[in-house]
């Protein structure tokens, strides 16, 4: 095949459409399409991957028996364990702690800090990481963190935005905790030394987010999660709280009463197992983007494989809203090396518009995410107004140069260094040319049900962060997730610290696993399926076909 000619990072046929977008920019600058009515939103949602037919099935066993969830999630929840009681000696604990935290993202790290603040000795805390402490979704958050902290924006406004955005499925008392603690979390981060974007007068720069009625998005350039997380991790390390890396938890242990009493870890490099005994466990394992639900690419980190859901479900934890998945409207669709990577919503907050192949703005840029994503899918696959890339993907443009046209030259450079850098690596200048986008699998809206302190229906088990369900209902708003990880990470850490004051260690058994296996067999599930997944499979098909196992 003859080599394609590229101009400014784009092949010729895409370049032609870009010229049309460039020409219509001035006209579109002050003519933003109106927001949809409730009816229009409903209609648009018909093409959303959650609502389009297929893709889900009802769970056959467990606390949520009968509930529909995405097929890859159902497959994992209804899987056999990686180990059984003959593989490991649960009677000897390698680590005996008061509070074990599984998963070191923002939620888990916050839980560890607050558990120590509330009196648990540092040696009695243990943070477990699948990979490094920092290989997580938290570090990738770009756009911002919501907190209602300006006179015009009382917390009840934040409450309404959140619960309406979540289609009223959210747990009201948990939402209340979210919005009430938000200013407190900002204060905590200030004290720890997070550098937020501020105006000359010292006020926060606060931006719009999709579905919000006031500006309350706090950011650190487009590295918000990186800055928040690295500060928490630095504090964690400076306090010398123990942690283990490259050793995922592969099963919880319970005692005769069903209380969670510890976990079994697996050293990914040596293959050895470790047994942890813990009086309280905080599960903070994050989301499931790497399941590629409905075949979508994802924004999520490498280890986002729903391990926490699997472990908790086996132990009897109840899930909620696990049927909905958040597809971020603006994933990269070109070049192929970065497909699925996130283009922060903050770009649209700053004025970038989705544009079709004919240079037309076809949707209000800040609809709630599910609506915005559906409108883009519809534009590409129903109205056939998308642009097809050399690798066969479709997408529409996100008109990034419009941002500088609105705010003045140099704004993108200052506010979006990560986005600019990501494209510059592939010879595309986002200040000059638009970028191609298509929705990407982004966030697990539901998860393990909790109360406002992260407590679950199981004694000894708290849950915080993306693995939890309830706070976002059926659709999360931008900036509410990083906020939620810290609000509920902190609360879970405090609640666990309170609990271990009087709790004693328990027996460690796999009783819950055995009854789960019985239920699987009863439901006729074939024994091949095993979970947790730990890491997705991306090895080349040819290489896999020749792989043999000799030791």
């Amino acid at each position: 095949m003859s080599e394609v000619k590229y101009i400014g990072g784009y092949p010729e046929h895409m370049r032609q459409s870009i010229e049309i977008v460039n020409r219509s920019r001035a006209k579109r600058k002050d003519a933003v399409p109106a927001a949809m009515s409730a009816e229009q939103r409903q209609e648009t949602l018909q093409v959303h991957p959650d609502y389009a037919p297929g893709g889900k099935r009802e769970l056959k066993i467990g606390p949520n028996k009968g509930d529909p969830v995405p097929v890859p999630v159902a497959d994992l929840l209804e899987s056999y364990p990686l180990i059984d009681k003959t593989d490991v000696d649960l009677s000897v604990a390698d680590h005996e702690v008061d509070v074990m935290i599984i998963g070191g993202g923002l939620a888990g790290t916050a839980a560890a800090l607050l558990a120590q603040d509330r009196g648990v000795e540092r040696e009695k805390i243990l943070l477990i990481n699948k990979l490094r402490h920092g290989d997580c979704n938290s570090i990738m958050a770009e756009g911002g963190t919501q907190a209602a902290d300006r006179p015009i924006d009382p917390p009840d406004r934040h409450f309404l935005d959140t619960i309406g955005g979540g289609h009223y499925a959210n747990k009201p008392d948990v939402v209340r905790a979210l919005v009430e603690d938000a200013p407190l979390v900002m204060h905590w981060l200030e004290e720890l030394g997070v550098v937020f974007d501020k105006r000359d007068n010292g006020d926060y720069v606060e931006n719009w987010g999709g579905g919000t009625s006031a500006r309350r998005m706090h950011s650190c350039r487009d590295y918000t999660g990186l800055e928040e997380f690295r500060v928490l991790r630095d504090e964690f390390r400076a306090r010398r709280i123990p942690s283990i890396e490259h050793s995922p938890a592969i099963e919880l242990t319970t005692d005769a009463s069903g209380r969670v009493t510890g976990a079994v870890l697996y050293n990914l490099e040596t293959g050895a197992y470790h047994v942890v005994s813990a009086k309280a466990t905080v599960l903070a394992t994050g989301g499931f983007g790497r399941l590629h639900i409905r075949g979508f690419p994802t924004t999520n980190h490498y280890g986002a494989t729903a391990d926490g859901l699997v472990l908790a479900y086996r132990a009897g934890a109840k899930l909620r809203d696990a049927d909905t998945v958040q597809y971020h409207p603006t994933g990269a669709a070109y070049p192929v090396q970065i497909v699925g990577f996130l283009l922060t919503e903050k770009l649209r907050s700053a004025g970038a518009q989705p544009i079709n192949k004919d240079g037309e703005a076809f949707v209000f840029p800040l609809e709630p995410r599910d609506v915005e994503a559906s409108a883009i899918i519809r534009e590409c696959y129903v109205r056939e107004n998308g642009i097809t890339t050399p690798s066969g993907l479709r997408g529409v443009w996100l008109d990034t140069p419009l941002i500088d046209a609105i705010h003045g030259e140099g704004y993108i450079e200052r506010a979006f260094p990560a986005m600019k850098r990501m494209y510059a690596r592939f010879d595309i200048d986002i200040t000059v040319d638009p970028v191609l986008i298509f929705p990407t699998l982004h966030y697990q809206n539901g998860g393990v049900e909790t109360d406002p302190d992260g407590a679950t229906n199981i004694e000894g088990l708290w849950v915080a962060g993306e693995v939890s369900g309830g706070v976002h209902g059926k659709n999360r708003l931008m900036g509410n997730s990083t906020l939620g990880t810290m609000v509920f990470g902190r609360r879970a850490g405090m609640a666990a610290a309170e609990y271990v004051r009087s709790a004693t260690g328990g027996q460690r058994t796999f009783q819950h696993v055995e009854s789960f296996v019985n239920a699987l067999e009863g439901a006729g599930v074939a024994p091949e399926r095993r979970a947790p997944m730990l890491l997705p499979e991306y090895r080349g098909k040819a290489a896999l076909a020749r792989m043999i196992d000799v030791w």
Binding site: V47, P49, A52, P53, G55, G134, D135, C136, D149, R150, P151, P154, P155, D156, L160, D161, I163, Y168, P172, D173, R176, E180, L184, M186, E190, E191, L192, G193, V195, K198, S213, Y223, G225, L226, R230, V231, D234, R237, A238, H246, E269, H292, R294, G295, F296, H301, Y302, P335, V336, V339, G340, F341, V382, R394, L535, R539, G540, K541, A542, A543
Partner: protein, 252 residues
Amino acid sequence: MSESKTMMERISESTRSLTTGVDSRDVEHWVTIYIMGRGYEVPADLTIMTAMEFAGYKLIRSCGCRQGFCGACATVFRREGQYKLESALACQTRVEDGMYLVQIPFSPAEAAYYDIESESYDYSVFSKHYPEVARCVSCNTCTKACPQDLEVMDYIQSAIKGDFESLAEQSFDCIQCGLCALRCPAEIVHYNVGHLGRRMFGRYGSPEPEHLKTRLAEMERGEFSSALDALVGASTKKLKELYAARVRESDE
């Protein structure tokens, strides 16, 4: 109805190689790369990271976010026929024919133990915890190694001057990949210095906004409790009405 089903199938078709691993039959252009010295033929449009996976590596180290934010995938490489060692992020860099590469999964550097509440906001915080900054010979090797294209030497100079604001500004986009520290002849651990400085700036140089303090005081007094009580107790019907009646803050 069946139309949207085929639509979902068409979408997942178009992304199959990205979500399930590359099938050689779909590949048109190939290059040869050398992973730790051993040659592999890989598709030309993969990143270093996905090319390693294509070759059969199941990554356990040197792979985290896969998107340029976590710094796990620091990679050192040399192009065939060249003497120069270059560095890159494996998840953000396309493979090139004749690339000799190795990943650096870990840099054995130590971060300081400190309590931000009791540090002084001047140069002494660096001389106390990272005295080696004073040994910088201004060779600029660190800057050349940085895959984020930061002015690394400049931020070390800002630390030496005790200029926290410039240090925070210049080092802000650091993803702590460790490549600078591995190349520095003075054995400075730049990313730790930068981090200490940024936290100090965040804590002491960039005060908490007044409007946040006001809000905290209002919350303390329970000013919003009854409004929130009402919302928590409201029916879905009532919530829908209130949601529809929200007035969007004006853009001015």
